[in-house]
């Protein structure tokens, strides 16, 4: 699947299309959410795959570190690629 209209790479996991493979650049946003994401293993440099997007576009399922974790759009937006 192609990224919708946006040329080049998606800025964060929230904009990534299904099947997207990439690397986390950094985690930025609400401090509590960022810390929770980091502790779950969303660390810079980590390879991620966007596995699925639920109906209504939210949440998204992301594969990393050998498992799949579902994040809401707001949380996925903190994970920048």
């Amino acid at each position: 699947m192609e990224s919708s209209g946006r040329p080049g790479r998606p800025a964060s996991l929230a904009e990534a299309p299904v099947g997207f493979r990439g690397t986390i650049r950094d985690v930025a946003g609400d401090a509590g959410t960022c810390l929770a994401l980091l502790e779950l293993g969303f660390t810079p440099g980590q390879r991620v795959v966007l596995v699925a997007v639920a109906p209504f576009g939210d949440p998204v399922a992301v594969s990393l570190r050998g498992t799949v974790i579902a994040l809401r759009q707001g949380e996925a937006r903190c994970v920048r690629l």
Binding site: V27, D30, G32, T33, C34, L35, A36, L37, L38, E39, L40, G41, T43, P44, R47, V49, V51, A52, V53, A54, P55, F56, G57, D58, P59, A61, S63, L64, R65, G66, T67, V68, I69, A70, L71, R72, G74, E75
Partner: protein
């Protein structure tokens, strides 16, 4: 709580790490759940199996992603590891790590080691790791972590003996210095920790050439099988369709599978009650035992098949990994009304009984969302409403069109879901949110469900119904029987049926029914239905039995619904017009859809919310709304010419 002198061993790990499977393998399913004093955290505790040769209690702590707590419940769990809050400190902590996602799970192990806890690491899911062409070197992990490590498979029992030897080693070693709780973590600390863990991971995981499996090339980071299924189950269209099918299948099986067993239990208890009463029909005590207590126990047990079947279904879906996907599918709609995808399983349980549902809401980590889940729980159509619906819909359904009853029942379930959604949406708009709502749910790998763990979970949840709802229902039905039969009225010269009616009219319950008659009048009903509705506040299903007693059908064949239907049709008011008109009966159904009529639910709601404010608001608003809705429906139907 653990007995004196016997050491406690705690199981710690992330959600889905295989902790509970290991717990069951080590304790042989002999365990009980304990409630942490003053908190809504519950964990299982049990002695190690005697054949393992180690005398210790094992505690299964709730899953944690970090030793830095993010909710009050997590704080209780973390505190228990450090022996605070007057709880004995565990003498050994087994950190369970999923070796197919080693880095994330070692994060908690590292935190536990840094805190100075006496740690033994148990590495599970070696089979999933092998499916990716990798193997774990236990010796290397042991060297890098600096603590004992064992690879286990709790499903087959491999490695369990070795793990017990390692636990014994920790217990026999001189006690270490007191552990220090982990201070707040900073982003830099997390990153440093992960960098170190990643280097460990590179050291400890070695590729194994498996014949026939992707030779060469990088190991896939996703379980291929799981990813293939998720493409369909999380698909925006197919996913929702399959979700709908699964839910319809779940509820259909509850009705179809439980029905024969329910009839059996019903018949059995009615027969034994009749047998007991026949022993000495004149003794008040014998009648209390037979008609009051035995029937009361029967009224509780008759729902057990439905509750067990629903929980078996939930357990099957949970253990296979599907319920996590279902939570993802419904998170967006639930978030819109102030709930969370995690509220889904508790609300689903609420269709069996509100009490296990409210207890399951403990898995909703955000306090506001948890309280809101508990608040709307009584609106979910629990199984105790079914006998009432069954009776009233049978009364309303024309004999030549039986499908109308089925359709009406489905409509009542939809009504229950819709009212829950509207109430949750309204309340969440009225009470502004203080912190951000989070979801972040791991979707575990699909696995074949294991009968053992499904059965333990089902027994556990059903026990909540039996103990927390059952005991009050039995006590209240015995008390209610006394209220219906005291003071003893003179019934000389009357037929058995007439004398029972006379007795009831003169009893305390009959007088109470007459007191609330002014309230029943606008609904087109009289004190007889009012008395039954008073009984329904003990337990909804008590309505049917009380109505049977009041309408004097119990003289001949107490268990038969047909005889009750006949006497409902025959019942008249003082002026000779029929009591149960179509309008009044529909109004009665509407009342039962919304009203909170269960004392046990109120008690559990108060305990889970930590105050009586919530159950009071629930009782007044739901029952008040039910009354208003019933009144509007009755008045509307009459105005439309239906009576």
């Amino acid at each position: 709580m653990p007995s004196i002198g016997r050491p406690t061993v705690a199981l710690l790990g992330q959600p889905n790490c295989g902790k509970t499977t290991l717990f069951n393998a080590l304790t042989g399913f002999r365990n009980r759940t304990v409630n942490y004093p003053g908190a809504t955290v519950e964990w299982a505790i049990g002695p190690l199996r005697a054949s393992l040769g180690l005398d210790a209690d094992l505690v299964d702590l709730p899953g944690l992603t970090s030793l830095v707590p993010r909710s009050p419940d997590e704080a209780v769990t973390v505190r228990s590891l450090f022996g605070q809050a007057d709880h004995e400190r565990p003498a050994a902590v087994v950190v369970v790590v999923d070796s197919s996602q080693l880095s994330r799970h070692l994060y908690v192990a590292r935190q536990a080691l840094d805190a100075g806890l006496p740690v033994v690491v148990a590495a599970t899911m070696g089979d999933l790791l092998a499916r990716r062409g990798l193997a774990l070197s236990v010796a290397d992990l042991q060297r890098r972590l600096g603590c004992p490590v064992d690879a286990i498979d709790a499903r087959t029992g491999d490695g369990i003996d070795g793990l017990v030897r390692l636990i014994r080693g920790v217990l026999e070693a001189p006690p270490p210095n007191a552990p220090r709780p982990v201070a707040a973590v900073l982003a830099d600390g997390v990153l440093a920790s992960y960098r170190e863990i990643e280097s460990m991971e590179r050291d400890c995981l070695t590729p194994v050439p498996l014949p026939g499996l992707h030779l060469g090339g990088a190991a896939p980071d996703v379980d291929v099988f799981t990813a293939r299924i998720d493409r369909w189950l999380l698909h925006p269209v197919c996913g929702l369709f399959i979700f709908g099918l699964v839910m319809v299948g779940l509820f259909a099986s509850v009705f179809l599978l439980a029905r024969p067993l329910m009839d059996l239990i019903d018949g059995l208890f009615a027969a034994s009650a009749a047998w007991i009463v026949a022993l000495s029909p004149d003794s008040l005590l014998v009648r209390l035992l037979g008609d009051g207590i035995v029937r009361g126990v029967g009224a509780v047990l008759v729902f057990l098949p439905q509750i067990v079947v629903l929980f078996l279904g939930i357990g099957f879906l949970e253990d296979s990994g599907y319920l996590a996907r279902a939570a993802v599918l419904v998170d967006r709609p639930l978030a819109a009304i102030g709930l969370n995808g995690r509220s889904f399983v508790p609300l689903l349980s609420g269709f069996a009984c509100a009490i296990p549902g409210m207890l399951a809401a403990r898995t909703v980590s955000d306090r506001r969302e948890r309280l809101l889940t508990i608040f709307v729980m009584p609106l979910m159509s629990c199984s105790a409403r079914l006998p009432v619906y069954a009776l009233l819909l049978a009364f309303l359904t024309p004999n030549d069109r039986p499908w109308i009853g089925g359709l009406a029942l489905a409509a009542l379930y939809l009504c229950s879901v819709a009212s829950g959604a509207i109430v949750a949406g309204l309340v969440s708009r009225l009470l502004p949110r203080t912190g951000p709502s989070r979801f972040m749910l791991e979707l575990p790998v699909y696995r074949a469900p294991r009968l053992g763990s499904i059965l333990t979970a089902t027994v556990d949840r059903s026990r909540h119904y039996l103990v927390k709802a059952g005991v009050p229902i039995v006590v209240i039905s015995a008390a209610l029987w006394l209220l219906c039969n005291l003071p003893v009225a003179s019934t000389a010269g009357l037929s058995p049926g007439e004398s029972r009616a006379r007795q009831l009219e003169a009893s305390y319950a009959g007088r109470a029914g007459k007191c609330i008659e002014p309230l029943m009048e606008p609904l087109g009903l009289d004190w007889r239905v009012g008395g039954s509705m008073v009984a329904a506040f003990a337990a909804r299903e008590a309505f049917v039995g009380a109505l049977a007693v009041i309408l004097t059908v119990s003289s001949g064949d107490p268990g038969s619904r047909e005889s009750l239907l006949l006497s409902m049709r025959a019942a008249t008011r003082a002026d000779g017009t029929p009591l149960f008109t179509t309008a009044a009966t529909v109004g009665l159904v509407v009342f039962f859809v919304f009203a909170l009529q269960c004392l046990s639910t109120l008690a559990v709601s108060a305990r889970e919310a930590g105050s009586w404010l919530m159950p009071l608001v629930q009782l007044v608003s739901f029952t008040g709304f039910a009354y208003a809705a019933a009144f509007l429906v009755v008045t509307g139907l009459r105005a439309a010419g239906v009576d």
